[in-house]
Every structure is written in C-alpha cells, then in structure tokens.
Amino acid sequence: MMTLKVNGKDHVVDADPDTPLLYVLRDDLKLNAAKFGCGLGQCGACTVIVDGKAVLSCVTPLLLLDGKQVTTLEGLGTIEAPAPIQRAFMEEQAAQCGYCISGMMMRAQALLQRNSKPTDAQIRAELQPNLCRCGTHMRIMRAVHRASRLMDSADASPVIQRSAP
C-alpha cells in the first residue's frame, strides 16, 4: 500500500512497488488518458507530468513516486472547462486516431509550464520522444503554439468551436 498524489488528490494504491505508474493510473485509478504504447519508453503515449516534468509512466515504477505530484491529462481540464492546451488541440483539430495525443499534450504542457513562448525548434526538440503514426505532426505543433497564445491571454474565454450553422 502506498499513497499516490494524482491530479491533486491522494490515492491509496494496492500495487507492487515495481508496478509501472501507467498501470496504476489505468488499472487502479481508472484513468484513460495515459496510454500503453510500448512499455519500453520509446513512444511517449504514456507521458504524464511528475513534479512539473514530462515522465514516461510506462517505465516509471511506483516506488519512485513517493511524495511526488502526478498530473495526467484528466487533471488539466474537462470538455466543459478545457485547459488552454486542450482547447488548442480542439481548435486545431490536432488528432486523427488520437491515441498518441494525450502523451503529446502532456509533454507540450510540461514545456509550456517552463517556457511559455517556445519556438518551433524548441517544440520539435521537446516532442522528439513522442511518436505519432497518423502524421498529425503539423497540427500538433500548431496546437502547441496556439496553447501558448491562449495561456498568454489572462481572461481566456470559453471554447469557441467552429460549428455547423
């Protein structure tokens, strides 16, 4: 048994200390966003934020997380009240199958938290560990730039989605 802080809440988790964080998030806490992609730290689909840093949850055992703050995509916002990064990905339609997108967003979020105005080159370098197979890279980069702008506007208004008349 150990206590894990996820998205601002304490959770008592009954899992072996060698259990990768990804399985705890998905199986014990029933969170969907972090995805199993490789289990080898090669694709980034499982990326979450731990104490402000992007972390590959599939290769991070539970025992390393004592006292640390874990943030998943669910912790950023909701459909009704999306965080800037979520709103940006919606507005740029930056997904095809979307399986990689949660990991992309969490890595981008970690970047934006330490560098609110990243250059294109910085975004590329940051997202290098994360794979997208549908080829949505251009939209993902545009969405990160848009999120940066949205975070900038103090009174970010609610999501305005283009909708059919």
Binding site: Q42, C43, M90, C97, S102, L131, H137
Partner: protein
C-alpha cells in the same frame, strides 16, 4: 436530377424488391442483360445496393430522435463526423440533432471491411441517398395529411412546413415502418449550392473526448468484473510448443488461469500488471522448437523476382506500331516488408454469456471477423456479436482481428467474465501481417520529340489481403491444437487490384505492356496496408516518369501533362504546381531539390498531386522535407478540414515509410520488434509546412481519399532527393545511409 419514384411498400414487397418493371432506363443504367420486355431495375447507389432497406441507414423515432447507421468502422479518419454532416444536410435537420452508430453485427448493415478508401464512396453514398429518400417519404406523408401538393412543402429543422406555416415534425410523420422500404435507384438530392453543413469544416465529434481523457478506445473499456489476459506468442512463424510447466505461473499473485491449446498460450490475471508479470514467467517457462524458414532480407530483389513461383498475367496491353522509341531507359525498384506500426498495440474485450460471445474490437470488418471467430469457436455466427470500438490507428490489417480472436478464445474458458487482451509492443511488431515486399521493373523509350513511345511495367508481389473471412486467417486459430489452415492466397481482382493496384499507368502511351507476377507463397505474414500495391507502383511509375523527363530534357510537371489526358488529373497536377510555385526550368538552391508526383488512387478514386522541396546534407546524407504542397480532388468534399487532415497525414506517414522503414529478420525470427529496431519518423523530420489544396467538385460522387496520398508522397520525395543529389535511389527505404552512399559513389 431525377425525381424520386416513391413506391408503395406493399407493392415493393409483393414484387420482392428485386425486379421493378418498366422504369424508363437509359442504357447506361441497365447494368445487366434482361429478358425482352422486362427491365432489371438499376441498383441503388453505394452500399444501398447490398443493404437496400432505408432503415438500415436512417431511423427516425416517434419522439423525433434520428440515428444514422454505417457498417464502416471509424479508424481515426473522421468519417463519422462526415456521415453525420451528410445525413443532417439531406434530412434538413441540425447537425447536432442526430447520432451515428458505427459497425456492429447486431445493429448495422454488413459493409465488409473499412478499407480501400471506400467509406465515403460506399457508406457515405448510402447515407446520402437514404437520408434524401427518407426526407422525400416524410414530405409525401405530410402532403397526404395536409392534402397539399408535395412541391408546395419545404423541410427545415426536422419538420415539414406548409406554405401557411403549419409544421409537422418528422417524429409525428414517421409511421412504424415508413422507412422499412427498399431504396430507389435515384434520389432527389439537395442542390449543392444550398448546402449548409456538407462542405463545412465541422469539428470532429470525437476530438473533445480524446483530448480530455474520456473513454475513447477499446483499450479504455472496463466492464465490471473484467480480467486481463496476455498472450505468449511463439518466438517465430511455425514454432511448436514442446514443453511448458505452468504450475509456478498458476500460483503467481492474481493469476486466474493459464490457457493452453496447442501452440496457443495465454495467462489471465485480475490486474493488468500482474498479467504482464505472469506472461513474462510463462514465456520463460515455455520451450519452443523453431524452424528456419525466412528468406534473405538483404536479397529481396532476387527472392521475389526469381526465387518464388509466380503466376503471370498481362493486365494491360496497348499497341501502336507507328510510335518508335529512340532512347530506352530501364530501372528496377524495390520495397521491403513494412509495418503498420500502430502506436497502440492491438486490444480487444470479449465476454461469453449464455452461449453468446460478444467481442468489442477495433477490427476493420465486424462481419468478416465474426465469421472467422465463429468458425474458430465452432459457434453459429448469430451467436457471436462483434461491436466496433475505436483503437489506435491501424492503416490496414494489423493485429486487430487476431487479438479479437485471442480474446474470444480466452473468454470461452471463463464464461460470464469480460476478458481484455492487450498485445505487447513486440507482439504487434513481430506478429502483425506486414505490407508485402515488392519488386517492379520498368522499361520505356522516348521518341524523337521526347515523348514516351513505349512503356513496360512488371510487378512482383504477394496478395495484399489475408484478412478473415475464414478462421485460418486468425493467429489464434492457426495456433490451437486443432488448427485451421491458412487459406491459399488470391490476387485481388482489378480494377482495384492488390499487388497490381495502380500498376496500369494513368498516362496515355502509344505502346504499353503491364505484367502482374502474382506470388502465392508468403515467406512472411502479410496483408493489407494503406494503399496496398499502389504505394510501390506509384513510387515506381512516378520516379520513372521523372527519370524519363530528365532524359528528355523536359520539366517533370510539363512532361506529365504532356502524357495526361484526364482533365481532373490535369487540374490536380496544375493546382499542386501552382501552389508550390513550380516554374519550368527552375533550379533549387544548392543542397535542395524539388520533386513532383501524381496519381489517381486505383485509377478510379481520388486524384492527388504532391510537390516537395527537400534539403539533403551532403556530408551525412540526411534528408529533410522542407515543404510539401498537395492538391486533391476527391469529388464532393464533405468535410474539407477532415480531408486536409487525411492528406497531411498521408504525406507524413508515407514519408516515414519512404525514408526509414523496413521489417528486419534473420533466417528464423523477425528482428524488428519495437521502435528501436523499427524506427519511424519523429518530429525532427516534420517539414516546415504542408499545404493541401482541395479541388471541390460539388454534386459529384465521393471518391475516397484515405490512401490517395501514399504513392505520390513517396515518389515526390524520391524525386526531390534525386534533384538535390543528382543520384537516383530506387530501393526503399531511402535511408540516410543509402543517400550518403549514393552521393559518395
């Protein structure tokens, strides 16, 4: 447009619906010869021809609730949103007021596989016409009730409205079985000029959920009582399980069951990571006898072109002896085996309840996969239900069908319990059916005016579909103690073709000869991968066209136009060239190259032309795409942003195949088993820009665009590399090392 012929349902049913007498038909509509005096009714369009009842596609409840149904599976292409646009438009209802139900053997029509860029063409067309015909039936019913002529009525916002303002809601108008009628061959479709929803970049319905952590994939399912299973696959094709002491594994924490049936080995546990640990222990306990059966990976040219028996057929022949070639070029192009490489390994959930099996699956074909699973389980098909739930993008036949079979086989051992099977990364990489390796040999001559006088094209390839149907296509069914044999491979018939897809040139040549060498033996497990043979055939044809243009001293775009008659094709070529700023005789800056390529997918679906600029580092050989400009004509564009997204993705994915990817193997095992050993494109390879120009064709048929970019992107990049380096690379992938070696040669 023809007015709809609304037949009384009883009369249609009495006539069996198959023959409808005495339509005034033009010859073009009459597809089959009929006895004198009887005219066979033309078939309704799209998938309506196979599932002709309107309520297979559109249902309206008395409370006004409207649902559209498709037998196709949403794979991340975004067509679910497009279908909703189509139905809303033709029914004259708000976009958000209806829902779309996708592939489910208990609820939707059997539309076979979601493949070949057919979804818009088959299912989109069916929904378009079914919705239009449903609207016409509602108007007719309102006219009857109001005692007014139909042409005085209009529809708006889910109601039929009379000139005096009286409104009859669709829910009020719809009688129990009003839509349970045969579709008519033609529909009164709305004038595209009046469209308010079709043609708009409506945001995709699935994205908000996917970017906020909602349950969006079969991987996210957690039905009560669910257990987690993992498979221990054989280490290589044909390996036999000789011994496996399961006792220790069965005692591991959380382990519910070890399932062993011949060479099929799996373990079930209460929690996911306990299943992973038990899988590792079980894998260590299993002893296998392996056979060295794989060909030489570095000699695929000879393996395919001379080493395997082939069935040869001339698929195109055109002669004009007056055209005489003066200068002849020959070239051979090769493609390795390539992986679909889904980011999420395949996953399925299955549950056996009261002798009925339900499988939640990201298969591309719920009906054919059901057939295979039912056969494997020796169950009648109606007792097996397959429900499509999205998975990670598949781009063809990946492990989806196999993992569905795995889950069903294990669920049968645990009645009542939902079983989730998740493949591991190395299982997806080593067991998925790959895109087949291919060889093409081209030979052509230029006449004295620099035009192509004769063209010879030969392609060697396996089939490009080993999908179920039969149980023998499923890994689990192959591995159990009473196995099902892999069915013999068949070439996919033209005009769509498989290995010969796009092998027939779209250009007009005085003399042309195209041969398909079909290779029935499959040393590696292969099946359908996005574009099938078109990827390599278009890569070959469009590389060779640029080689010929160079030999003729002609501009590559002008050279293509010189041989291209198809007016829509010409429009697409010119649009891409214009968008790129292509100028005849232009010279790229030092170290840069310009490339161009064009194809019409299958020679009958969407048109796509792509111009690229590439930079090549001469010291390292490293190529980088700087910009790509595409033009696409896929007929009536329903969701232009979705279409652009597909083409952008096609360029990126094809670039990844083209620059980086080949399945590797030794004489026994697949050795490309993860992203380290099978590298794909990452962000450092993303270009500065991709522009997609859509040539919309309002009112023309949907052509399907999911695969049209794969071939042109590959050839355009290859042509740009040749322009940058002066060296032509013909063996895929065009790796940094191969480019460097070519520069140094």
């Amino acid at each position: 447009m023809n007015a709809p012929v609304i037949l009384d349902r009883r009369r249609v049913l009495a006539g069996g619906g198959a023959l409808i007498v005495s339509f005034s038909l033009t010859g073009a509509f009459a597809e089959e010869k009929s006895p004198p005096g009887v005219v066979t009714a033309p078939k309704p369009p799209g998938s309506l021809k196979d599932a002709p009842l309107l309520d297979s596609w559109i249902r309206i409840e008395a409370d006004g609730k409207i649902t559209a149904f498709t037998g196709k599976a949403e794979l991340g292409q975004g067509f679910k949103t497009a279908f909703q646009q189509i139905a809303a438009e033709q029914l004259d209802i708000p976009f958000a007021s209806l829902t779309v139900v996708t592939a489910d053997t208990h609820r939707t029509a059997n539309e076979g596989y979601t493949s070949g860029s057919h979804s818009m063409q088959d299912s989109g067309t069916a929904i378009l016409n079914a919705a239009a015909q449903a609207r016409a039936l509602l108007v007719a019913e309102a006219a009857r009730r109001l005692d007014l002529p139909e042409d005085t009525l209009r529809t708006e916002n889910g109601a039929v409205i009379a000139p005096d303002g009286r409104r009859l809601g669709y829910g009020d108008l719809v009688a129990g079985d009003m839509l349970h009628v045969q579709a008519q061959p033609t529909s009164k479709l709305k004038d595209p000029a009046s469209f308010g929803i079709m043609g708009q970049p409506v945001p995709r319905l699935d994205i908000p959920n996917k970017v906020t952590g909602g349950a969006a994939y079969v991987q996210d399912m957690r039905p009560p009582g669910m257990v987690h299973a993992r498979i221990v696959r054989p280490p290589s094709y044909g390996a036999q399980l000789t011994a496996c002491d399961t006792a220790a594994v069965e005692k591991m924490p959380g382990v519910v069951k070890v399932v062993r049936d011949g060479n099929f080995l799996a373990v079930v546990a209460t929690k996911e990571f306990l299943a992973v640990k038990a899988m590792r222990a079980l894998s260590a306990a299993a002893q296998w006898k392996e056979t060295a059966s794989l060909p030489k990976q570095d000699d695929l040219l000879h393996v395919l072109a001379t080493g395997l028996p082939s069935q040869d057929s001339v698929i195109f022949q055109h002669s004009n002896p007056s055209a005489v070639g003066r200068k002849t070029l020959e070239a051979t192009y090769t493609r390795p085996y390539q992986s679909h490489g889904s980011i999420g390994p395949s996953c399925a959930v299955a549950q056996l309840v009261d002798d009925a099996m339900t499988v939640w699956t990201h298969t591309q074909g719920v009906y054919p996969d059901r057939q295979g699973i039912a056969e494997m389980l020796h169950m009648p098909q109606p007792s097996v239900r397959l429900i499509h739930v999205e998975g990670s993008g598949c781009y063809g036949h990946n492990g989806a069908d196999d993992v569905a079979a795995d889950a069903a086989l294990i669920a049968r051992e645990l009645p009542g319990v939902p079983v989730r099977v998740q493949w591991m990364r190395e299982q997806e990489h080593s067991w998925e059916p790959y895109g087949p390796a291919m060889v093409t040999k081209l030979k052509a001559s230029l006449d004295e005016n620099g035009a192509i006088a004769d063209w010879n094209f030969e392609v060697w390839s396996n089939t490009h579909s080993m999908r179920p149907g039969g149980a023998g296509c499923l890994l689990a069914a192959q591995h159990i103690a009473q196995p099902f044999a892999v069915p013999p491979a068949k070439p996919l018939p033209l005009p769509e073709g498989g290995g010969d897809r796009n092998a027939i040139p779209i250009y007009t040549f005085p003399n042309a000869h195209v041969v398909h060498h079909f290779l029935p033996d499959m040393p590696l497990r292969i099946s359908a991968m996005r574009g099938l043979g078109a990827y390599h055939n278009v890569f070959s044809i469009e590389s060779f066209m640029s080689e010929l243009a160079l030999a003729a001293g002609a501009d590559p775009v002008a050279f293509r136009l010189k041989h291209l008659d198809d007016p829509r094709g010409r429009d697409v070529v010119m649009k891409a060239a214009e968008g790129f700023g292509w100028r005849e005789g232009q010279k790229a800056p030092p170290g840069h190259g310009y490339g161009f390529a064009f194809a019409r997918y299958k020679n009958l679906a969407a048109y796509c032309a792509i111009a690229t600029e590439i930079e090549v580092n001469r010291e390292t050989g490293q190529p980088r795409l700087l910009r790509a400009v595409a033009a696409v004509d896929s007929g009536q564009a329903v969701n232009p942003d979705g279409l652009a997204n597909q083409i952008e993705g096609a360029i990126m994915q094809s670039m990844s195949w083209t620059l980086f990817e080949s399945v590797t193997f030794d004489d026994t095992r697949i050795t490309s088993i993860d992203w380290q050993t099978y590298p794909i494109l990452r962000f450092n390879s993303a270009p500065d820009s991709i522009d997609v120009h859509i040539i919309n064709r309002p009112g023309l048929p949907f052509l399907g665009s999911g695969e049209t970019g794969q071939g042109p992107a590959a050839a355009s990049i290859a042509n740009a590399i040749a322009d940058a380096t002066g060296k032509r690379l013909r063996n895929l992938p065009l790796t940094r090392k191969r480019i460097k070696d070519a520069i140094d040669a």
